[in-house]
């Protein structure tokens, strides 16, 4: 793959659909793989009412059939088509062309926090590994009638985080791992801090994950600069409603001298230790090595 910008004017059969394409638009796509790559310009006729993914698909169907891109629902519900459009992490299916300046090329590059596989497709297995390291939901027993009772007000908070479509844009934008690769081993990232907040706030859950969140999930690495919230396509208030409340809960468990003194004086037991919690996290089954190098990913 040439690393220089080259012109690849696309011919299209869209003339049949659109009476007279008046203007054209240029997409500057990053093409390449682990051996390197570069930005390539594709010029296509501008059509009304399209999103970036529509244009990428037109390029794929005409001038670049082997252009690798992930997508599924094309409706902002599955979170597959994450990329960086003009440098901003966004879903391609939720970025209308009309919101972008069309007199200059529109740059579309893969998420830059994860290793590239090809073109716009990245290896997001980091996220699945972290997901497996989260201590599972542990509810108490059901009521006598075989159901659970929960008040709506008690689940509103967790429901906000369950809107997450796992596009991993927040993981991508988070400088803790974007700019500091080493931290991937020590940091769950905004998506999974929100997942942990969901579990901590779940009215039926009985597990205390606070020390685990601090010691294993690395909440202390977050410096709340709110980029995760800024890029969230579901408008989840990740920082204000998930991470900061978790930080405060961690303070309760670890840094609050009054609470510590109270526990000492009243002889209350401290919360379950991280290792005790880790025993229920599948991370420790160490399934990670099984498929590495075989082209597959652990779940």
């Amino acid at each position: 793959m040439a690393s220089t910008t080259e012109q690849a004017a696309a011919t299209t059969n869209e003339a049949a659909q659109s009476a007279a394409p008046r203007r054209s638009v240029t997409l500057r796509l990053w093409r390449g793989d682990a051996d390197g790559g570069g930005l390539v310009d594709y010029e296509v006729p501008a059509l009304e009412g399209e999103v970036v993914l529509d244009v990428v698909h037109r390029i794929q169907a005409t001038s670049a059939p082997d252009l690798a891109v992930r997508w599924n629902c094309k409706a902002g519900k599955c979170g597959s088509c994450s990329a960086e459009i003009n440098g901003k992490p966004r879903l391609m299916c939720m970025t209308r062309m009309s919101t972008l300046p069309q007199d200059e090329p529109i740059t579309v590059s893969p998420m830059r926090t994860f290793p590239v596989i090809r073109d716009l497709v990245t290896d997001v297995s980091y996220n699945f590994t972290v997901a497996a390291a989260i201590p599972a939901f542990s509810p108490g027993p059901r009521e006598a009638d075989g159901t659970y009772r929960m008040a709506q007000v008690d689940i509103d908070r967790s429901q906000e985080f369950r809107k997450c479509i796992e596009c991993f844009l927040c993981q991508n934008v988070c400088h803790v791992i974007r700019d500091h690769e080493d931290n991937k081993q020590y940091y769950a990232g905004p998506r999974f801090l929100a997942r942990l907040a969901e579990l901590e706030m779940h009215p039926l859950d009985n597990l205390d994950r606070r020390r685990y969140i601090s010691e294993q999930m690395g909440i202390g690495l977050c410096n709340i600069t709110k980029c995760c919230t800024e890029v969230c396509p579901e408008s989840i208030h990740i920082t204000d409603n998930a991470i900061i409340p978790l930080k405060e809960r961690v303070v309760d468990a670890r840094y609050d001298p009054v609470a510590w003194l109270g526990r000492k004086l009243l002889g209350r037991k401290p919360p379950k230790s991280a290792t005790a919690v880790a025993a229920v996290a599948p991370l420790w089954r160490d399934r990670g090595a099984e498929h590495a190098g075989a082209g597959s990913k652990e779940a």
Partner: protein, 292 residues
Amino acid sequence: MTVVEETPGAPNPNGGVAPIPVRIGGVRGGPPLRKILRRDTWWLQPALTALGLLGFIGYSIWAALRNGDFYAGAYGRDYLSPLYSPCLTHSCTTAGYVWGGWSWWRISPAWLILAFPGAFRTTCYYYRKAYYRSFWFSPPACAVPDAGSTAEGNGLRKRYSGETRFPLILQNIHRYTWYFAVIFAGILTWDAIAAFRFPNGIGLGVGTIILVINAVFIWAYTLGCHACRHLCGGGLKQFSKHKSRYWLWKNVLTHLNEHHQLFAWCSLFSIIVSDLYIYLVASGTITDPRIF
């Protein structure tokens, strides 16, 4: 790509038992990280924030060094500057809290007073975001490399440890600074009430209005604090068992919290305006118009 069990020389900053077995070290796609692809004016927000914060710091240093003209009692107004309240060293006759006449205190009392709200604001979740972005460049804006970016091997800082080590681990004491902030908000409220006292009874001056607005902003900022929101109700697992705390959490604190940034700036400006106005009145530069 290999599964990394441990990276030699990279201790877990969290103090936990083992790293998460993720793969690290793959080749990143796209143009190099240091190449900023954003086309918007991403630098504007951190620049304005830096300007605003530096402006405030500069002003409060000047105001603290001034060590005078912070009480307008000489002109028949019980106006006390928020930067000098409670009144420790001065004779503020009727206004504010007079703890003082600390004649042994040699330097400006503003330094002592500023320390408390200063600690509150320094550890505030909003201000942290603001100065981490504007001064630390950590990061200056989203999808812009931070000053310590090691992804391309040219970062200024070797390792990023966030708020896991001294001194930044002290950010966790935010809730204690909040307790003091509540006391100070109470004092400033008293100052605002005291500002209605005129030599011949109750009155209202422009300064009164300024001090009332200041008190309102201070409360809006103090109650919108994330630690306050947590202590009031956010830390609860089941709201349905704590009706009144839930009500307060949902209907008051959450709304204030959503505008924490706004009130952080409003209260900062109102403090400056209050102090400046009182200085101008107390130094005889202007006369405070009485409305009734």
